[in-house]
Symmetry: D2
Subunit: 349 residues, 4 copies
């Protein structure tokens, strides 16, 4: 058995940082050796400064770690970043420049040149973009926004098979997507908020990058027209999305379902520790999927789809669900690290 | 001052029937003189057999009424029907045949030949269809499904001005739309249900009928392609809908907003008691409209719109909200009665 | 008709300040002529700096007012204070010293010597304490904490009639009691928080002060033993409380209900504009009162009681409900101003 | 390894029956060999007639079982009963008379003579009552109501050590306690219902039976005065209770906490498969326990306590939480079966 890789967590006291710690407890390949946060917390014990949100206690080994500044002298092989976007850009660059691989959940570098916006089941070939990063031994890999991830996993098998021309999506997103404290209870009880700042643009631009191709060494976005409308609903976890699609070539309804159910990608083939198998659950019960019932399938890493039916305007419409803080954030980043490790791109320093 | 018209309520003990009673308290033109329900309740005092859902008490004059069978010998000038669809068809027909005007909120006769599917601000000309009904002095007028109403009011001014080609709508519908007891709390707390039985078909078929035209004495549905996806969310009242539209002729964003804000129709011009003025509220705050904040505007009869913006797939997208049990059910039916009264089509028997 | 008294609102941009503005729109005796808040907002238009929480728009006359600093040179006859407790103490004192009557909803002066902790239906005689305040023409009157108010109104008629010995109360309090943004949605969806900071002490100490007596010019707390446990639940407005009581002399169950239903106090007799009549609703439906159904009775100023029954430990137990931001905060303070006006204790300066 | 005992589930299609099936999947000592329900379902495949409430699928081996009538010719060693109280009494008696051990979650026989009302950590000695049952080889053992269970587990260590004189409890109970469909969403969103039918009597009478003693072969209820008030809140799972206690002898606060934390009973000592260890979690964070955070501790079988503090009326007050459908229903019944098996009282027929 190989020694575990040693990870540092940037933004360790925040909601995403906590989720990294929760999901990495007992990870077979990775152990946390450093936690870093803002100067306010630095120098103190992690357990003393963190408003721990989960009901299961902080792993003892982490609770006793001293929180460090977010400067690139952490004792670890690489870092996960759950930093707030207001500071993530510079800090992540400084770590990459100092030779640290940075596996980031923040949005700042998602559109930086040569930074893969990675979903291991969708675009592992984008990892080759990394070679052109100018950071020496360090590099940055990002994962997409929580509302993009589930959508793209549902779209990818169809795009491969029939080609996507148009995508329309309306989301009903969970509260945990807004971080903590996030949405005030007075704003959401008995209510829906039909707006999430810059979320629609993220979904529209990220989707075409992730489904993009590297051709003749040049990167090209997918030529899919896409429109998104994003809403916040009173759900704890799990983003539900109503999708319409127009395909380039005709597809039968049954064939689409089959393509979803049979979809296998590198993470499943490599048996990565966090890879769900199956990746996609298709439900025939027309009331499914539902956030509370299905968000935890595959330990929160699977994607649930249902209600595929013909659409009077597009070709088809359907409903997709994925867990926004697991598959759509910390879990997605961990799967990114796992595929890097499996491919030998992430090693002990 | 003219004597009030005397109304009977069919299905008086149900959720819609109760809303009729609540909204008609102190109505200037209409008084309730009869309440009818299933045989189980018949012969008993209304106040004794009704599981009254509102916090404000049953009007005393109604509480003391004896509940009668739903057979056409009620002492009234016309009836409102809040009957369940399982029985509404036959009972409403029997009342019309017996000479009663029937103002129905039920779905059974919405597509019967010559039955207007009426929103007074949208298609008052459809009332002329009634003449061809074969009921003698009786007739049937219906109002559309709660999720259709708000949508069509938002679409009508645009259809008049620029012509609609395509409409895509995704709804987030309130619990009260399912009646009582309706949705189990275990099914909706911390959850969304991406399915409402036959709701999508209703929205698609009702919209083109309501926006249809009578040409050369023949009725023609509007030639609009429309697709709907319907979801149930944990909101008490108020259906919120995300809409995409494609217009036949080009429209500027500001012009659309202006057309909405200036839209006036017969109910406003006739100053019908339940007609909201303005009919449409357009919000510039990008977080609006929201169900809890805006459902009660215009006493629940106004429609709230916001977030009009260009759409990468269609021409525009926006959000619309209306109160499902007031504008979308009992209040809509009452407004139907009011316009009939104002036009002399509904009188004392 | 007398000219209206001119009121300033301290803390006008906060949740309580907004409620003052909402409730004073169209008040027959009082008009708002000044709004004051923190320096951050001072000098700007109220409508531009306020995150207005209600769905009904800001009254236009208020939206255009310039927000002023909280220093005692406001152009008004008296002030309502909805200031945060972190600053209310000093600011309110400075206004009183400058000759302004201060009608405060903040907790800071509730236990200051000679400051009445006033519920007009319960202890209007405590207003005589004010004479000993050392502020010249100015003075301070406070209203109790939102969870205390409903309880004390329920207890007062019983204490008068039979004498209270012991009170045990467990509360289920609404989200709006925590202000805005207040409770994070992630903390309360599908949850209860069994703790509200210092709330239990407030209920225990305020109750005995309000029910206290002035004897031989000396003030004496009521000698009632009281224990409180406070919980936050996912309710928008309306604090529900489960109460046990032990009386000094024996009371029959029916007599207690009658005493509640017949209770009339000075505000009702003086027909103060905000005084509810009846003050107390007693429900025989054993599922009542409920926050959503009954919080708005008497425009949010009435108190609802139900489920009076014998208790194996105490004499009786029952459930009481009152609206926490109306009766328990801004509305309570406005009623305090009204009784002062009616008694000639609050006049134009 | 011994062969597993073969269990039948009475009321298998209901909410409690489903929970039995969910919790018994992969049980080391018990396998399900028969499912029985009402005649409507009998003869059909379990998977076809059950409105399965959980997001994880029905275990395949169960889905394919044919549902049988609730008559005592099931192929199994004993039965779990999750029957509705309207039918449980007679059916359970008929099974016991036919020689089946009946481990029941229903209330019907809880106060039948010689029927243990069993919490294995609290009153395992009550199992000796069974000997006097007149059923031959069959017998009936019951577990208490969901709201009683958590309370009694919190009380037991204190009663052993210092003696309880008085207990006052106010509950905030989860929706799942009402079964399915149970509470209508329209009744509980933005609301609390201060009433649960006959729940208060159950808590008061069950507590003194469970804490009762067998002395000189006679059973004697505990002489504790107890008063309960029960409320329904918008929580999925987990009953939270605010408790006041008066002890016979003086106890120090720290000593009470220690007694809770150290409490070990037979199920822990026997290492029963479903026995949580620790049984009781005591939290020092004054905001804990909370239903959503702590209901699943010990796989839903542990009890969480917090906020122990002195009480002005009683000696102490505190908050207790337990999972109502696991510890308080199906899980509690399974633990009852386990202790019977461990003691040799439940064997293959």
């Amino acid at each position: 058995m190989k020694p575990k890789l040693r990870a540092g967590i940037l933004g360790a006291t925040g909601a995403v940082g906590q989720k990294f710690i929760e999901l990495l407890a007992n990870h077979p390949w990775i152990e946390i050796t450093a936690v870093a946060a803002s100067q306010r917390s630095a120098g103190k014990k992690y357990g003393d400064v963190t408003n721990w949100l989960s009901g299961t206690p902080i792993p003892l080994s982490i609770a006793n770690l001293e929180v460090q500044d977010c400067i690139p002298n952490l004792d670890c092989d690489f870092v996960f970043s759950g930093l707030d976007a207001s500071v993530a850009g510079e800090i992540e660059t400084s770590f990459a420049q100092a030779g640290y691989p940075v596996i980031s959940n923040s949005r700042n570098h998602r559109f930086s040149p040569n930074v893969p916006l990675l979903i291991p089941e969708v675009n592992p070939d984008h990892l080759s973009l990394m070679k052109e990063q100018k950071f020496g031994k360090g590099f940055i890999v990002t994962n997409p926004n929580c509302s993009t991830t589930g959508l793209v996993i549902a779209l990818k098998p169809l795009h491969d098979q029939w080609g996507l021309e148009q995508v329309n999506v309306v989301t009903m997103q969970a509260l945990s997507g807004a971080g903590y404290p996030g949405v005030a209870s007075l704003d959401i009880l008995d209510n829906v908020i039909p707006y999430i700042g810059s979320e629609e643009q993220k979904m529209e631009s990220e989707t075409v990058k992730i489904l993009g191709k590297i051709e003749n060494k040049a990167f090209k976005n997918a030529s899919i027209k896409i429109s998104a409308q994003c809403n916040r609903v009173a759900v704890m976890n799990g983003h539900l999305e109503c999708v319409n699609i127009k395909l380039k070539t005709k597809a039968k309804l049954d064939a689409i379902i089959q393509v979803w159910q049979n979809y296998q990608a590198e993470p499943q083939q490599l048996k990565l520790p966090s890879a769900p198998n199956p990746l996609i659950y298709y439900f025939t019960n027309e009331k499914y999927p539902q956030p509370r019932l299905h968000r935890d399938l595959g330990n929160g890493m699977a994607v649930s789809i249902g209600r595929l039916r013909e659409c009077p305007l597009f070709d088809y419409k359907f409903v997709v669900l994925s867990h926004n803080t697991v598959r759509g954030a910390a879990g997605g980043a961990i799967l990114n690290a796992e595929i890097l490790i499996a491919k030998g791109l992430l090693t002990t320093r």
